[in-house]
């Protein structure tokens, strides 16, 4: 097996006086979708924010593509090939859809073939290309948020709850888009509360509790073991 694209080694992150991450050990294999699962408040979002550099790990190491990025500033981490879709989507509401996308293509003009591919995944973005992003619906904003990450090829995508609060039809659209991304060989670290989506997309899974990864393994194994799910997360995937 090749080196993982991302490896967290004993990462601890504090936010003010709170010890949120308490020694996270995590690997994201290349070309796979790695799910980060767990109940609310166990540190999933903080893990992604620590990788992108919004929060600083005060202990441990974040290794990306063989390089220690623990102390690197966020822009440098992003430029080294990490795309980030935050939980709150991070849309620039006063900018148009086009301007959001132009900004996301940080290395230069938007590649038209890539844009066509993004449009095929998210047609409403073409319809509302010149509209202010703040006027989009919640689902369309989420599409834009993911499209911004997709508009350039990244080595790793960090995606935080892309289906949160969305209608089932939009969830399907999201899942299809992420499958396409996966089919292109992208490496994705995905936080997802929708277990149907997690099961459909995930190759490997990491379950967090209390600021640590308490279980790692194949997503298929977790999905097929109700007792394991109950033990790790206090619920069953079958309920979703």
């Amino acid at each position: 097996m090749s080196d993982p694209i991302l490896r967290l080694e004993g990462v601890c992150t504090n936010i003010a006086q709170y010890h949120i991450l308490q020694g996270v050990e995590l690997e994201v294999p290349r070309g796979q979708v790695t799910m980060l699962l767990g109940r609310n408040g166990v540190g999933k979002t903080t893990t992604l924010r620590t990788v992108i550099g919004h929060w600083r790990a005060h202990k441990g190491r974040v290794m990306f593509d063989g390089e220690d990025i623990t102390a690197k500033p966020t822009p440098a981490i992003a430029r080294s090939g990490v795309g980030f879709v935050p939980e709150d989507m991070g849309i620039f509401s006063d900018l148009t859809v086009e301007e959001n996308m132009v900004l996301a293509a940080a290395s230069g003009p938007i590649d038209s073939a890539r844009l066509d591919w993004v449009f095929s995944a998210f047609p409403p973005l073409k319809t509302f290309w010149s509209s202010e992003a703040g006027n989009l619906s919640g689902g369309q904003k989420q599409m834009l948020s993911i499209a911004r990450a997709m508009i350039e090829e990244r080595k790793l995508y960090l995606i935080d709850e892309p289906t949160k609060g969305l209608a089932p039809a939009i969830v399907s659209t999201m899942a299809r888009a992420l499958k396409e991304l996966k089919a292109q060989g992208a490496s994705i670290l995905l936080v997802e509360q929708n277990f149907a989506v997690a099961r459909a997309l995930g190759d490997t899974a990491n379950v967090m509790d209390d600021g640590r990864v308490i279980w790692s393994g194949a997503m298929a194994k977790l999905a097929g073991d109700a007792e394991l799910q109950e033990r790790l997360m206090g619920l069953s995937l079958e309920a979703h």
């Binding site: 709150d88 991070g90 290395s107 509209s131 911004r148």
Partner: protein, 343 residues
């Protein structure tokens, strides 16, 4: 590749009121001009006051535009912004005094060259000062509003005292360049040449700022950074550099405003920037923090209202701008053109 999902979104039909909503602040300026025409009986007086109000508004805009971006982009409350206005005025006037032969010559070309050199000198000095101010005074207090108020206020006092050390404590009376003295008559109204120049300079600065903010990538980064700096960084942009650039540009614009304001009043003092800060803050607040367009409209409203009210009811002029701020904040608590913050 997967077929496009079935989804046929369309825009909702907006009512006339909804469509006019975003333009309401813009319409306030012509509405105020029309109200002024109705309230002031003589057309010539109204025209003179309108040009004067627009000129004053343009100069306030030039001084305030940098502050609103610094507010919006960096979340910094910079009470020291007035220092750049004062320093700009003193440096600019010093250059003009050194170029006395050019300013005194009855040649528009020579006068404008002298004015341009004064403006460039002032902007270079205040831009450099802005860079140092950001590094030494502002950077250590990012994220701490109370500390920002205290240290930037302290910085303002220090700069004012340095001006007194360098140029002396007395007011300096200045004469405008020869070709910019006096007025032209139009429709029976006397329009001061200098005020017309100020209107043109203000429009050029506004157009340039809009071009940069709307048509360039750096402008896109600034506008996005005002809304959500964290996300801009996650897209790979070094916002810190943009911060510094905006601070320097804002300081240089304040310096330009200082030269213009000094020549408008024909007298400069070390405290002129501090005094202008009241109007500058009103404009920044009613415009919407971080909004250049809001700042522009707010500055025109302040300039026009002050001139109309001072003519109609001089005593009320003292409170007219505060009253305007109260009225606008009751109408739009986030300012006329609020910037949506992702916080």
């Amino acid at each position: 590749m997967t077929a496009a999902p079935k989804h046929a979104p369309k825009m909702a039909e907006l009512s006339l009121a909804q469509r006019l909503g975003p333009w309401m602040p813009v319409l306030l300026v012509p509405a105020l001009v029309v109200l002024g025409a109705l309230a002031i009986p003589e057309t010539s007086s109204w025209l003179t006051l309108t040009v004067s109000g627009l000129a004053m508004g343009m100069m306030i805009f030039i001084m305030a535009s940098g502050l609103t971006l610094v507010f919006g982009l960096m979340d910094v409350i910079n009470f020291g912004h007035g220092a750049f206005v004062s320093v700009g005025a003193f440096v600019g006037v010093t250059v003009l005094l050194m170029l006395g032969q050019m300013t005194g010559a009855p040649s528009l070309g020579l006068n404008l060259v002298a004015l341009m050199l004064a403006v460039l000198g002032a902007m270079a000095a205040t831009g450099a000062m802005g860079w140092a101010f950001e590094k030494v005074i502002v950077m250590p207090v990012y994220g701490h509003h109370l500390k920002q108020i205290l240290v930037t206020m302290g910085g303002l006092i220090v700069v004012e005292q340095l001006i007194i050390v360098l140029w002396g404590p007395e007011e300096i009376y200045i004469a405008r360049p020869e070709s910019l003295k006096g007025a032209i008559t139009f429709a029976g109204a006397a329009l001061e040449k200098y005020r017309l120049v100020a209107v043109v300079v203000g429009l050029v600065v506004f157009a340039a700022m809009r071009f940069v903010l709307r048509r360039t990538r750096i402008g896109l980064i600034v506008r996005a950074g005002v809304q959500n700096g964290e996300m801009v960084q996650a897209l790979g942009y070094r916002l810190r550099r943009v911060f510094v650039g905006v601070f320097i540009a804002g300081s240089a614009l304040a310096g330009l405003g200082g030269v213009m304001w000094g020549l408008y009043q024909e007298v400069i003092t070390a405290h002129m920037g501090n005094q202008a800060m009241i109007l500058i803050f009103i404009v920044v607040i009613i415009g919407g923090l971080g909004s250049v367009e809001g700042c522009f409209i707010g500055a025109l409203l302040v300039g026009l209202l002050q001139n109309y009210v001072a003519f109609l009811e001089p005593k009320a002029a003292l409170i007219s701008n505060i009253a305007l701020m109260v009225a606008i904040l009751m109408w739009r608590p986030m300012g006329m053109i609020p910037v949506v913050k992702a916080k």
